[in-house]
């Protein structure tokens, strides 16, 4: 597939990386030639320097035969214009724009083909905010990914000594929770997936991925670790876009404090927020943190745009007694370094966003994609089409499928009803949505191929 990416920022770069590794022809456009050079040195892609909204430049970048346009520059306006040009001048079939302003969500008519012609709009800040929001709702979880509009969830949780399942084989889960449908999708030990058989024993420190209906998540997590009390006091370090959105989303229910260094920004935040308390200061300042009772804080989230700052203030907060700390970390190396150590959760905004971008790239009929473990693994919701003859999936039980290694079918959504694939004798019907967990992303083409309908279907 020929893909054009406008903007080589964090989102643009990580999309490019991910798409190149899946053997797509990627061209990246950005005004910053230096940044493009770095990107070109790292990955096998083409770069063009210049203003992404100019038709000549898009033509030079090969817009004429492009299959998909990602407009992910920092400016909403540039992205909108680029989509319009892409549609009108080059007739690019799929145009995805990153739009920060929440305003467009209220006015979908502006994104129609006769207006700005944006086929899909995404807002990374909003996605990250929702992601953190889920973690506040389930404070024990490392990650929560929704499928079928939130009916079933894929949850990552770290097993901790004292959890009833710890030191028990996986098959015991059915006995411990007889009335709940739950499927363990994968277990990571020391950052590596281990082969999952019914006799696999859950160890303390394991990262366990399981699938269950949303209302059962709590009970399942309680098997893996002791449950914390619900989050009540939250400190958000950094009042940027994400900090503001997050504070606004949770301030009605929780006690929220926002720490921001810039005085002017503080005044703006205080004007925007209703009950959250805005503090002017440095989140890595010990005195400020102790004045604000960081030791009684249930959750400390550092979301400034500086990785080092986020890590340091999160570490400091943890040291000073914050029950749980989350840091926004853009660089993958840092993220891998930090997660599971002093910092409970390191969130990579680029990879969090990646899932919603990849939905549009995947071949076949894909309903949702979630990037897991900072881009290493993936959970994907695929739609099965055809019949027993034309499809290699439909009409077969799960155990009969020729799944690539590391792939597990964990859930089926049939006619709006979510089934957790606890047993492997479910027979797949046409139009079923299948949730597939992949420990290795390079198996994605194989999965896509498996779900392709043979020509005879048409």
């Amino acid at each position: 597939m020929k893909i054009l990416i406008l903007g080589a920022g964090q989102v643009g770069a990580s999309v490019a990386e991910s798409l190149v590794s899946e053997k797509n022809d990627v061209t990246v456009v950005d005004t910053d030639a230096e940044r493009l050079k770095n990107l070109q040195n790292q990955f096998d892609l083409r770069t063009v320097a210049g203003n992404a909204a100019q038709p000549e430049l898009l033509a030079e970048a090969g817009a004429a035969d492009t299959d998909m346009l990602f407009a992910v520059t920092a400016s909403d306006e540039t992205n909108l214009v680029a989509c319009k040009v892409g549609k009108t001048t080059f007739n690019i079939p799929t145009r995805i724009a990153r739009l920060r302003s929440a305003w467009f969500q209220d006015h979908p008519e502006l994104l129609a083909d006769d207006c700005f012609a944006v086929s899909h709009a995404i807002c990374p800040e909003q996605i990250v905010t929702e992601y953190i929001g889920k973690l506040i709702e389930f404070p024990e979880a490392l990650q929560v990914a929704e499928f079928a509009g939130g009916r079933i969830d894929l949850v990552a949780v770290r097993a901790v000594e004292g959890g009833p399942m710890v030191l028990h084989p996986v098959r015991d889960l059915v006995d411990l929770l007889p009335r709940i449908d739950v499927k363990i999708a994968a277990i990571y030990r020391n950052d590596r997936p281990i082969d999952l058989v019914p006799d696999t024993v859950v160890q303390a420190g394991d990262e366990v991925f399981f699938v269950a209906a949303s209302q059962h998540i709590r009970e399942v997590m309680a098997e893996m670790r002791q449950m914390d009390r619900p989050v009540r006091r939250v400190i958000i370090a950094g009042g940027g876009n994400i900090g503001l959105r997050l504070a606004r989303a949770i301030e009605a229910k929780l006690n929220v404090k926002v720490i921001e260094t810039a005085k002017r920004r503080c005044e703006f935040l205080a004007g925007q927020l209703r009950s959250a308390l805005v503090l002017n200061g440095d989140a890595s300042n010990e005195d400020l943190l102790s004045d604000e009772n960081v030791d009684e804080t249930d959750l400390f989230v550092s979301v400034t745009n500086d990785d080092e700052n986020n890590i340091m203030s999160a570490l400091l907060a943890k040291r000073m007694g914050a029950r749980r700390v989350i840091a926004l970390v853009n660089r993958r190396a840092y993220g891998d370094l930090m997660q599971g150590g002093q910092i409970d959760i390191a969130i990579s905004p680029a990879h969090t966003t990646l899932g919603s971008l990849l939905e549009y790239v995947r071949r076949g009929d894909v309903a949702a994609v979630h990037s897991l473990r900072r881009g290493r693994a993936e959970a994907i919701e695929l739609v099965a089409h055809g019949d027993r003859k034309s499809s290699r999936v439909v009409g077969r039980a799960i155990r009969e499928l020729d799944l690539p290694p590391g792939a597990t079918i964990v859930g089926i959504i049939r006619k709006g009803e979510a089934i957790v694939a606890q047993r492997d004798d479910h027979v797949i019907e046409t139009d079923d949505h299948l949730v597939v967990f992949l420990t290795q992303r390079r198996m994605i083409p194989k999965i896509e191929k498996l779900f392709e309908v043979s020509v005879g279907f048409f």
């Binding site: 005085k263 503080c266 005044e267 935040l269 205080a270 004007g271 308390l277 805005v278 503090l279 002017n280 200061g281 400020l288 004045d291 604000e292």
Partner: protein
């Protein structure tokens, strides 16, 4: 080479008196125009007097002619080369002059038709009318010519018209006591949408609403059983939140729950921002009231206090049943809290908590942009929020806490203006009460009389309670009250700024 000397230096500065006159002439010119506009008001009681043949018509005719001739004289005398554009600073002088000169002319019919009435008392009466206070020095109201009662309540009604425009359009321009935020702030939905772009059009729109509601009030009172004359007198008094009645017993004269209910309703209407009424009429939707953060609070305080006082009266065995208590509490509490000043009975006889609470309410339970007095709900709310902010700052020294009203962040300079206003308001009450006490008035009478005057509410307690009048005061004390009413109506600073030397410098 010496440069030519500028002519002003050569001629020397003009004498101070002439300089002052040059400053004042344009203001006098506009003031004279305002008097010319005011003069037709005399024709209203004149018409009533002729129709009712009560014999006072000559008094109004005289008043009309004097106002017209004096107005015309000054209008023509200050015409021509002294004309210049008025500056915002001239507004202070102009507003103060209008509110003190018009009542002076308005005394003419009172002095001519009420034998033995001194100018001091007559001026108190007309100031009380035009500031929509409703305190009176007259007794034997029932025996007065009906046209005199029409005249008194007409002054309230005209004063109300003036206040609405003053509050919505003029004071915000002058920025008195933080009132610049009334305009931007009052109903939440007005933020992006000024009523109309021009002051003149805004005034016409607001007056249209005022007029329409008044007409509605007259009809309702007539239907509730008043005579036409009484209905008009009481409608004028109600809409201006003044409180002049044509009966010594005020609303107690009628002994009619229906009339009381109608008046309570219209007092509540008049204590809301007329800009909100205007929006509600124009958009034909009640949503404007929901969006008005002040209106909501006014209603909560009013309704809460009525229920609370009613329960209190039952608990203290003043009334045997809750229904009677509710009827009397509803009327008198709303009347005092809205700074109207009607009374359906002598509520001063209630246990002291009730009348004191009512007077307390009169200090702040009216909306900005209404015809009510006091410090206004918005200032009280800002003050309270400022106090909360200081407490938050003590606990969280690094916190950035803006004071908000609705969703709007209030600038610090507005908060300071409100604080200064409150200080002056408190200072005025203390100073003026001291003056009354120094001249021999007892403490309850002195303090409540001054609060009643500065809030433009009407009756106080003690010797100036609802069953008596301000006639017991000496001439000096009457003047103290007169000035207090003016100060309160013009939001203190409009008038006080005239007494600073800097105001008169170039």
């Amino acid at each position: 080479m010496s440069r030519p000397i500028p002519p002003s230096v050569r001629a020397g500065p003009p004498p101070r008196v002439i300089e002052l006159a040059l400053r004042v002439f344009p203001v006098v010119h506009v003031l004279a125009a305002a008097m010319l506009l005011f003069s037709p008001a005399f024709l209203v009681p004149l018409a009533f007097s002729l129709a009712l043949r009560d014999g006072s018509h000559a008094a109004y005719g005289t008043g009309f002619l004097v106002t017209l001739v004096v107005g015309l004289f000054f209008f023509l005398a200050t015409r021509g080369r002294h004309r210049r554009e008025l500056q915002p600073r001239d507004g202070f002088l102009l507003v103060t002059l209008v509110w003190s000169v018009a009542p002076a002319f308005a005394t003419i019919p009172l002095i001519l038709s009420i034998p033995g009435l001194t100018f001091t008392d007559a001026y108190f009466e007309t100031i009380s009318g035009m500031t929509t206070t409703g305190a009176t020095v007259l007794s034997g109201l029932d025996r007065l010519d009906p046209s005199i009662n029409i005249w008194r309540s007409l002054l309230v009604w005209i004063g109300g018209m003036g206040i609405i425009v003053l509050a919505v359009a003029i004071l915000p321009l002058l920025g008195v006591g933080g009132s610049q935020l009334f305009k931007a702030e009052s109903p939440g939905c007005m933020k992006d949408n000024k009523l109309t772009p021009r002051i003149g059009d805004t005034a016409k729109g607001l007056w249209g609403v005022y007029f329409a509601i008044t007409a509605l009030c007259v009809l309702s009172l007539k239907l509730a059983g008043m005579t036409w004359i009484d209905a008009i007198v009481h409608s004028f008094s109600t809409m201006g939140l003044g409180g002049f009645s044509s009966h010594d017993d005020s609303l107690g004269y009628f002994k009619s729950p229906a009339i009381e209910a109608v008046i309570v309703f219209f007092m509540l209407v008049a204590s809301l921002n007329f800009a909100t009424h205007f929006l509600a009429v124009r958009r034909r939707s009640l949503r404007a009231y929901l969006a008005d953060a002040e209106a909501r609070r006014v209603m909560i305080w009013m309704v809460g206090s009525v229920l609370g006082i009613a329960a209190f009266l039952v608990a203290r065995d003043v009334y045997p049943d809750f229904a009677t208590a509710l009827r009397h509490a509803a009327f008198n509490v709303v009347s005092i809290a809205s700074t109207t000043g009607f009374a359906s009975l002598d509520y001063a006889q209630w246990p002291i908590f009730a009348p004191i609470w009512m007077i307390f309410l009169s200090c702040f339970v009216t909306s900005s942009g209404s015809t009510g007095g006091g410090i206004k709900m918005i200032r009280a709310v800002l003050l309270f929020k400022q106090a909360l902010r200081e407490m938050t700052r003590i606990i969280h020294p690094r916190a950035v806490v803006p004071v908000k009203f609705g969703d709007q962040v209030i600038e610090n300079n507005v908060i300071f203006a409100v604080l200064a206003f409150m200080l002056m308001w408190g200072g005025t009450i203390i100073a003026m009460s001291m003056l009354l006490m120094a001249t021999g008035v007892d403490v309850i009478t002195a303090v409540t009389a001054i609060i009643a005057c500065v809030n433009n509410m009407g009756p106080g307690l003690g010797a100036v309670g609802p069953s008596t009048t301000f006639a017991v005061l000496t001439d000096f004390q009457t003047w103290v009250c007169t000035i207090t009413m003016l100060l309160g109506r013009l939001e203190l600073f409009t008038m006080l700024v005239l007494f600073t030397p800097a105001f008169w410098r170039k």
